[in-house]
Homo-oligomer: 340 residues x 2
């Protein structure tokens, strides 16, 4: 069939193990034989069989990435390709490969994780979401399988390596920005309560509001489904209140897009009637009208760092859990303005 290490060995007049050593660039092989072997590899068009290698060394040189189950439209969020890009770029450097799960629902996703882990397909796993009572996370914990979370774990925080932003502070900053602009009535629109990212951002918003002694009616906090319906409902609810908000903290740019369009339909103008702040700095936050004031969370970098951490973990299973906080940067654009 394919050209194996034996063929190369024969042609170079050495033992297979020598060829193996040349592949690994073992320093105790003379430069001369290395050259000869490499030439033989070239001549024959040799490429190592990864499965055989993996079997022998009991690793796979690849890692798995788990997305939120794709039933969720959230998957259409450009966040995901962007972190993947970051993860991929780092993996590529170290010649690792990338498996992704794209299970349709929680169950199939879980099955895929099990296949990855139990079948030795991957050396480690990156979770691109974090929420409470996640069977996947529990499974990995219990198996003591190397994994890192992009985001913050809901529990066992000290035992899990994760990379995240300081979402609480970022959200607080955003809210304070609105407060400094004179806004007194500020509402929060977030995603599912189960997600840590939502609860952190809510938390930051809350504490800023409290510190400024501003009103914080329950109706100002909306947890909503993603996108169209979500944005619309949220807007409808908020703007039929007796005192509708003049400032908004929205947990995701994509949601904001929905919110803005719902507002427009109601004839409410941004930023004249309502100032909007948002999260993620997706490219689309620059092309909306007005351009969004949003938190750049460095999605790409979140990806890179998570890959880096995971690789460390796989090299050394006893590596202590750590937490990497990626700095954020608020992009002040046109969607916020002082209250008049």
């Amino acid at each position: 069939m394919s050209i194996t290490i034996k063929d190369v060995a024969k042609r170079a007049g050495v033992a297979p193990s020598t060829v193996s050593r040349v592949i690994a660039d073992n320093p105790r092989i003379s430069m001369e034989t290395k050259k000869r072997v490499r030439k033989a590899m070239k001549d024959l068009g040799y490429h190592p069989n990864i499965n055989a290698r993996n079997l022998a060394v009991r690793s796979s040189q690849s890692i798995g990435v788990i997305m939120p189950s794709s039933a969720d439209v959230a998957l259409q969020n450009p966040f995901f390709p962007e972190v993947l890009r970051g993860i991929g770029s780092h993996l590529h450097e170290v010649e690792y490969s990338l498996y992704v799960s794209t299970g349709g629902n929680e169950e199939t996703t879980f099955e895929e994780v099990q296949r990855m882990v139990n079948g030795n397909r991957v050396d480690g796993i990156i979770l691109l979401y974090s929420r409470m009572n996640d069977p996947v996370q529990e499974f990995l914990m219990e198996k003591k399988f190397p994994f890192v979370i992009v985001g913050k774990p809901f529990e066992n925080e000290s035992e899990i390596t994760y990379v995240d932003n300081n979402n609480v502070q970022a959200s607080k900053d955003l809210t304070n920005h609105l407060i400094e602009l004179g806004h007194q009535h500020i509402a929060f629109i977030g995603g599912s309560k189960e997600l840590t990212v939502t609860s952190d951002r809510l938390h930051g918003y809350r504490s800023a509001i409290k510190e400024a002694s501003l009103p914080l009616p329950d109706e100002y906090i909306i947890h909503t489904a993603f996108l169209k319906s979500g944005g619309r409902e949220a807007v409808e609810k908020l703007f039929q209140l007796d005192t509708p908000p003049t400032g908004l903290v929205v947990a995701d740019d994509l949601m904001t897009l929905g919110v803005m369009n719902a507002l427009e339909e109601l004839g409410i103008n941004c930023p004249e009637d309502v100032s909007i702040t948002s999260f993620n700095n997706l490219y689309l936050s620059e092309i909306t009208t007005p351009a969004l004031t949003t938190v750049d969370i460095q999605i790409y970098n979140l990806g890179v760092q998570s890959a880096r951490c995971l690789l460390e973990l796989t090299k050394n299973k006893d590596e202590p859990a750590k937490r990497i906080i990626i700095p954020y940067d608020i992009k002040y654009r046109k969607s916020t303005t002082p209250i008049n």
Copy 2:
């Protein structure tokens, strides 16, 4: 280390080969021993080692998906997660896994493909883009490695299996829709000329315009970079012409988003001043204001079908090349209106 087939064999009091046959659900094994073996597997928590299996059968039960090199912002297009979702759903059914390339540029992507193919990491490959002079495609052709394209190959069309929409006709329909609404000055905004998808859509636009004997000045055809800059430049160019268009055929919803916002800044209203038609039916096409008239190309289904075809190809290398055309469906919404 891990529990192997031998452990199971021992516990069940059979030979390893028998266990293997039970795993494969070989019909010549008595129901009784099957039961016994399965119980042993459960008791021990056995999971087959995929690398060993792959080595023995010389396959990998996984396929690779190649994205356009991610230097391109295009990657932020929700098209990709969506088609991945389709691919993943089918693969999951047949217990295959999914590798993705996320090379940063053309070169690293090419390297990754080589690693996938030469290292026997994957049994087949899906290309999520198609453009002229693509080294990846040439490499796969030459190696006779099973692959399918989502989109249409630029050359060797009859030798390559691909799944696509009838983009020419769809674009023609879109253009005709504008023509029927009374528009006489219709422009086309597309992406890179190198991409088949762009050239097909341009082609359809062209032929509709010609058949209606409408003017087709060169300035009405814009090839632009993606997104913000692209959309803006395109709009600026078009709307400083002596006779600016009143109708637009844009090759992608995301571009359209950029276009719409650029228009808004110039004080040009959609659909009053200009009717816009677009492609892909991304969820965001519903939440823009106005909602977009756009072609639903069934992204998810493109993914499913491409996976299905690829698996057939891997089973049978001599499977003749085929072409799957996924029907499209134009969603008529609010971004188009009769000319007044």
